[in-house]
Point group: C2
Chain length 331, copies 2
């Protein structure tokens, strides 16, 4: 039986969305049980069945306004901290939350704890590409670390490689280092040293440097970089897609009758296309490098996105990705 600890109070639509997703998953996945952390008076009426769902009441909530480190240290009765503690104590296998990213990373680090041998865990989203042959791009680190050393980037590559193989079933993932040019001699002090460390690794298929303009075309499966750059790239992607969609909308809105008819005719195919860019289909971003998977769903996740994150949580546990990572670094 797989046990998922749900921080039911995290996210813009908590606890409704997490609970709806749990209700949906309970039928679909008989091998799974849930420990749901949060305000019992709000949660209990939403739950469809008490089979394999246990609600653990929590008095506190950590929100986006809280200072992450202080909140995790002081709000001991919060849903996020109690869910993380359940994972740490082996009462649950994986932690899922749509709450504050900073607090969740902190809870992962301070409560769940690092895998021995890993200096810094990394945050790993799976981003949809425009390639039908290679539809996934793993980005690591997308922001768990503000300051990164070359050895951290090497470890990110190893962890992401295990994930790509075990969870995404990519046989021989192509790993690229994000850099300001493709030549081996290019880059910052950090990226040059990371390049050397990645070249030394036999366990990964390192294909060299990649420029950020080529991330979405399916050239590589895994892009590793420092957490500051990775965070900027992820947010630039998010912002540019949003900006483009809003530009398209205002173009159609301000156009004449023919434009409006045209927009009506392409609406559905366009919607399908844009949905392919929605990374919540893959679930959430995984904090890898801690003793149990910690998965961050989007704060704005709807029921479907949250359900995808539950499916992903199950998949990560069943694939034994964290076990493999732990074994790798214990050698």
């Amino acid at each position: 039986m797989i046990t998922i600890a749900i921080d039911a109070m995290g996210g813009d639509h908590a606890p409704q969305v997490p609970i709806q997703a749990v209700n949906q998953a309970i039928d679909k996945y008989p091998q799974v049980q849930f420990k749901v952390y949060g305000d019992q008076t709000k949660i209990t009426p939403l739950i469809r069945t008490d089979q394999r769902i246990e609600v653990i009441h929590c008095d506190e909530i950590i929100d986006n306004e809280d200072d992450p480190v202080r909140a995790v240290r002081t709000k001991k009765e919060s849903s996020m901290v109690k869910a993380a503690r359940a994972v740490k104590e082996g009462e649950a296998d994986v932690l899922l939350s749509a709450g504050s990213t900073g607090a969740l990373l902190t809870a992962g680090l301070l409560i769940v704890g690092r895998i021995p041998g890993i200096d810094r865990p990394g945050l790993m989203p799976v981003i949809p590409t425009i390639s039908s042959e290679h539809p996934h791009l793993i980005l690591m680190d997308a922001g768990a670390n503000a300051d990164t050393k070359p050895i951290n980037i090497q470890q990110f590559a190893v962890m992401a490689n295990v994930y790509a193989r075990q969870v995404l079933n990519i046989e021989r993932p192509r790993v690229g280092l994000i850099n300001n040019g493709t030549e081996a001699s290019k880059g910052s002090q950090l990226s040059k040293e990371a390049y050397a460390l990645l070249s030394e690794l036999d366990s990964i298929h390192f294909v060299g440097n990649i420029e950020a303009k080529n991330l979405l075309n399916g050239e590589i499966d895994i892009a590793v970089t420092d957490g500051f750059t990775g965070n900027a790239i992820l947010k630039t992607l998010e912002g540019s897609v949003k900006s483009l969609v809003s530009l398209l909308k205002s173009t159609f809105k301000s156009g004449g009758l023919l434009t409006k008819i045209g927009a009506f005719l392409i609406k559905n195919p366009l919607k399908n296309t844009l949905e392919n860019l929605d990374d919540s289909k893959q679930g959430g971003a995984v904090l890898l490098g801690v003793k149990a998977p910690v998965i961050k769903a989007h704060g704005s996740a709807d029921e479907e996105a949250y359900f995808n994150a539950i499916r992903q949580s199950i998949h990560v546990i069943e694939s034994q990705a964290v076990v493999q990572i732990t074994n790798y670094f214990s050698d």
Copy 2:
């Protein structure tokens, strides 16, 4: 009289595009003369008039395959090096090239030379936003430096501020520091120290940290960051716009008859919208911090884009932006 040194052999369509743009500019700007560097046998037949156009023959070309530093040091007879030397020796006021970015940055640094008091020049593109009220975003440094110190970021802000005021006529440019969160306490060691230095400056209107997802919505006029992150952001933007456009195209192409009719009806308004995202309307990216402006046009620039870069070159000289920067740092 303003003298523009043109590296006519740089870019994908050299020397045709640069010369066509020069031909167009010579009538429009009577206050301008051109020194055109490159292969005389190719250039002379393309030139429409020899009024205010001087062709200086060059035997060599620096291309994108060349190692930038070695090429600038050894290819003394190349069009780029000779054009840069003309600027250095006061025979021209500004250097314009669509050639190798790396080589042009090197030529700017090694030949034109730094302004005293400026540690590292920065590369500054002007990026179109989706805000009609604030249509321009200056990004600095977009990749002149692989490794950046806090003081460099402070100097980028001062230089970009002068450019925004003098060239883009923004009265009180809002300067933001790209960071992994908006709180003042956020960020890497580098961004925290840069934050402190930016806060100390009375000469700029520093509005604090900005996340990369909000760069295109007009919140700020100038985004400063280290050159590695800035390069990744610029390239992510480039790649995501390209990917989205290619997705739209394949959506329309693979759709049924109604989708195709719809696509036909929205084609022109969509084209206009996407053209607004084309940063070549602003000209090229400016290397600021060297003794004379060095302007990099896109390698793929067409005649119009190159003409825009000529117009921008004139504007930068007439606005005396570099003189003002020099005065600021000489105090």
